[in-house]
Symmetry: C2
Subunit: 394 residues, 2 copies
């Protein structure tokens, strides 16, 4: 049995508390032996679940010892009752550690609009503490799953100032899902000693180039949270943005978030392929982003990819109605290395067979050059099959 | 056999020119015996098909005698060749009438990025003139179809200043479709005598409350066109916005466009139900529109409706990430007459059985009150079934 090696001082558990049916694991606990420097990036949805509002304060408090999470119920759209339940969940988790409720992150994912079954949560927390171990990281990753087909986690070890430092990432998410799933969570644990401001900046920047660049169905959830805990137990000199090893640490973090994000897209509901949409030559980076997202979120493009069809007309249409400025006769489109559009029209030498071969692959890139300026952006998405609809209908 | 009665002085034809496979009708011609006052509303997509650019000039010219259209090839993203082909199509249609090319509207719908097969178009126009008759309106409606399951047309007769006046509408569209369909067309024909400015204002306003309020998949095509021809042969005194009968004329036009729009939504690819999303209490009408469209275009909502599930959490999520300002604890949501959300939370007395019964219907309305201001908007949409994906994948 594979096991997830956690950074020094971290232990984890994942158990079935009876919130989800069929005795599936539905609660996870992560505990750090030492108070951690914390950082967080949260959903921009105006409707934020109660635990998201709570966690924003926990980041400010900045000495977190634990993350407690449940799947099955999102505790979103639950009013003051939802806030009380979140607080109780934090307090009950804090008690055995002898710390404050404000030292505990709370995450929920699942159905919107339902109250947490607090009796099951309470019993679940007790059970979690019994299973807490440095060896149980994979159980925690499994308990985070909703319609995810695979748990998502990885650990990387680097050397900072001569000390071995580990980073572990755990994530869940595969589209917003039945019924009303609410939905992307990622926890980053490290034993590195990191200055708070640097950690927050790094987490924000790494999120922008990873989780914020993926799109399964264009829906942004009420519960999306990326949380980082750095407990400093590796014993390195505190890392700041001026440290010699800062670049290494940041790049490792960024790569970890990117890999977790790719795991999420590849596990997108019903998805069969990873599609990279890269826009260059836009009037600005913002406009490039608008164009890339219009393509990535277009149902017509997503279904075309599922059908292995290099329908560049659907790409032209999507960039045309995007908020990016587009000049038809300047647009070039290339699938991997196969040019299909030059100057807004079919490339005369285009090989449709070559293009079909590209779209038939598990992963390919659509390069769009608007030839108007220096703006660029990339979005990672997946195709949309009948399976996506089946999952979300049933 | 049913037949479509056309307004006085109009005749029509629809034939198979060999552009579409299986000898399906793929070209239509509509001719007016007298020069018509014209109006047009066209796609806002920055990538406009060659015929759209042409028709904008025909509206300015304002003495149109004919509409020629083909399905199968959209003549979009075809550069100067596409413009030349459009002009040739207009000129060849104008010739037998002894008028200028600029008196002829040209519409194309079908694959983006392909050139028109001009030999087939030329032979088709010849054949169309042989079949031209006041009795062949339904053939024209049929030739407009792409993945439409049913042709869409209707005629209404009213009395203006003591004279009988007819309005006929023909439309096509059911989502943007394989491969790269480009795609909503509507022709409004009337024998009323109408002042040009009044006709343009009326067509714009009626389009805003009908075609611009429907959403099948959120994609806006390169070819969307709504064109009106008023040939004045009913012999009424010219209608202006100050005429006594203006209200009757405008309301009839508006109702006709609305009915055509509803026919399009009901014929949406794979759609099984018509869903009306009505938002009130928004900060402005524009914000209400943003909220309604976010709900209507959300794949998660569309698939929930297909699954007959009243998932109000997905509604909360969509309005939360829309560009409308939303305050969670003020939101009320009602399905037809069944209250489900009050103050952003599950309505305690909500009957889930009643709500399921609403969503199981062929048509229902979701009422969303943001309780923030006086802005309101309505959007008509359909559900998304596996059939939608099947159509667009295959």
């Amino acid at each position: 049995m594979k096991k997830l090696i956690l950074p020094k001082g971290f232990s984890a558990a994942g158990i079935a508390a009876g919130i989800k049916p069929k005795k599936k694991k539905d609660m996870a606990l992560i505990v750090s032996d030492a108070p951690s420097v914390t950082a967080g990036v949260f959903t921009t949805n105006q409707i934020k679940a109660a635990p998201v509002k709570w966690d924003i304060q926990v980041v400010e408090h900045n000495r977190s010892r634990a993350i407690v999470m449940n799947s099955g119920v999102a505790n979103a759209c639950t009013g003051t009752q939802g806030e009380t339940d979140t607080q109780a969940m934090a307090a009950l988790t804090a008690s055995p550690l002898g710390v404050e409720a404000a030292d505990v992150f709370v995450c929920s994912t699942g159905t919107i609009g339902k109250f947490l079954p607090m009796d099951k949560i309470f019993n679940g927390i007790e059970k979690l503490y019994k299973h807490l171990s440095p060896d149980n990281g994979l159980d925690a990753a499994e308990a985070m799953m909703t319609t995810d087909l695979v748990p998502k986690s990885l650990t990387v070890e680097i050397e900072i100032g001569g000390k071995p430092v580990r980073l572990t990432g755990l994530a869940k998410g595969s589209g917003m899902i039945e019924p009303n799933m609410a939905t992307m969570l990622a926890f980053i644990l490290t034993d590195a000693k990191v200055e708070k401001h640097a950690l927050q900046c790094a987490l924000r920047a790494a999120t922008d180039t990873s989780f914020n660049r993926i799109s399964v169905d264009g829906d942004q959830s009420t519960n999306d949270s990326v949380i980082a805990l750095a407990n400093g137990m590796a014993g390195n000199d505190v890392l700041t943005q001026d440290s010699a090893d800062w670049g290494l640490f940041f790049q490792t973090l960024e790569k970890m978030l990117f890999e977790l994000a790719m795991m999420i897209v590849r596990d997108g509901e019903g998805a069969t392929k990873l599609v990279t949409v890269r826009v260059i030559g836009a009037g600005s980076n913002g406009e490039a982003n608008e164009a890339a997202r219009a393509v990535a979120n277009s149902m017509l493009n997503k279904t075309a990819w599922a059908g292995k069809r290099p329908n560049w007309g659907r790409i032209m249409d999507a960039i045309g109605y995007s908020h990016a400025q587009v000049q038809e006769n300047r647009v070039d489109i290339t699938y991997d290395e196969v040019p299909l559009v030059r100057g807004g029209m079919a490339y005369p030498g285009a090989s449709i067979d070559d293009a079909i071969a590209v779209v038939a692959k598990d992963a390919f890139t659509i390069h769009i050059n608007l030839n108007l300026g220096g703006g660029e952006a990339v979005v990672y998405t997946c195709d949309c099959t009948e399976e996506y609809v089946r999952i979300n209908v049933e």
